[in-house]
């Protein structure tokens, strides 16, 4: 029967692709506790070095102008920077657009009150093994990765802020 022929054919295709998928080397995100890879990038206000922010809790964000949820995350990151700067939080957002103009256009309609750096070559997201856009990491005062988060939705805000508070040693309700 033709109907089952289709299934059979599809089955062979699935098998072939499965086989290939198994061979493909999986990429893993950076593990908790590993040392955050250093970077030295060009930024909106001069050079941006991770080392310069040692001793602070760093919220490191990878974003692009074409990434829809990134727009949502900007407002929230501004809010976090303002709220927890005194307690030692530093938000660093690394842009991965190929063209800086695209990033600047995004920034003009979504102003950032935190540190913004540019990495058009993509060396930093590679060293951080970024697996989705946007990706954010919390890096402790000791320069080690505390946690990682992929994507950004409204529903993520509470948990992300809670992690920041916890890492800053602030207890009690978030808002």
């Amino acid at each position: 029967m033709s109907f089952f022929d289709v299934k059979g054919r599809a089955g062979r295709g699935v098998a072939a692709i499965l086989f290939v998928a198994v061979l493909a080397a999986p990429t893993h995100a950076l593990e908790r506790g590993s040392v955050a890879p250093p970077f030295d990038l060009d930024g909106t206000k001069g050079a941006v070095k991770l080392a310069k922010h040692q001793g602070k809790l760093v919220y490191l964000d990878f974003w692009a102008s074409w990434c829809a949820p990134c727009r949502q995350s900007f407002g929230w990151m501004n809010e976090m920077q303002a709220k927890y700067a005194m307690q030692g939080l530093q938000v660093i957002a690394i842009n991965v657009d190929e063209k800086r103009d695209d990033a600047l256009r995004f920034l003009s309609s979504n102003p950032a009150s935190f540190v913004v750096a540019f990495d058009p070559a993509g060396a930093t997201p590679l060293s951080y093994r970024v697996m989705g856009m946007p990706t954010s990491l919390l890096i402790g005062t000791d320069g080690k990765v505390i946690s990682e988060h992929i994507g950004f939705k409204d529903a993520d805000k509470i948990a992300l802020e809670e992690k920041i508070r916890l890492s800053l040693g602030i207890s009690g309700a978030g808002k």
């Binding site: 062979r12 692709i17 970024v130």
Partner: protein, 83 residues
């Protein structure tokens, strides 16, 4: 079952499916995987296979009612007695 279904729907189709699936899947190992931060171009709406859904629907409807062939891009949608 009606004898009409005993025919295989074309051996050419069989071969084409297998060949293209193999090419696509085999290609995966040859292709350098595109990293999440390299997908700015792929994220452009015109690079996707969807797009203007009403436009696609209208076009498909027109062709489907003037030619004998249909299918390939989706399922469902219902028929009409258009002549």
């Amino acid at each position: 079952m009606n004898s009409g279904f005993d025919r295989r729907p074309g051996k050419h189709a069989d071969l084409a499916v297998v060949a293209i699936l193999c090419a696509l899947s085999g290609g995966c190992t040859l292709l350098t995987p595109v990293q999440p931060w390299q997908k700015g171009t792929l994220a452009r709406p015109e690079m996707t296979f969807g797009g203007d859904s009403l436009d696609l629907k209208n076009s498909e409807h027109v062709y489907q009612n003037r030619e004998a062939a249909s299918g390939g891009s989706g399922v469902g949608g219902g028929g009409c007695g258009c002549n």
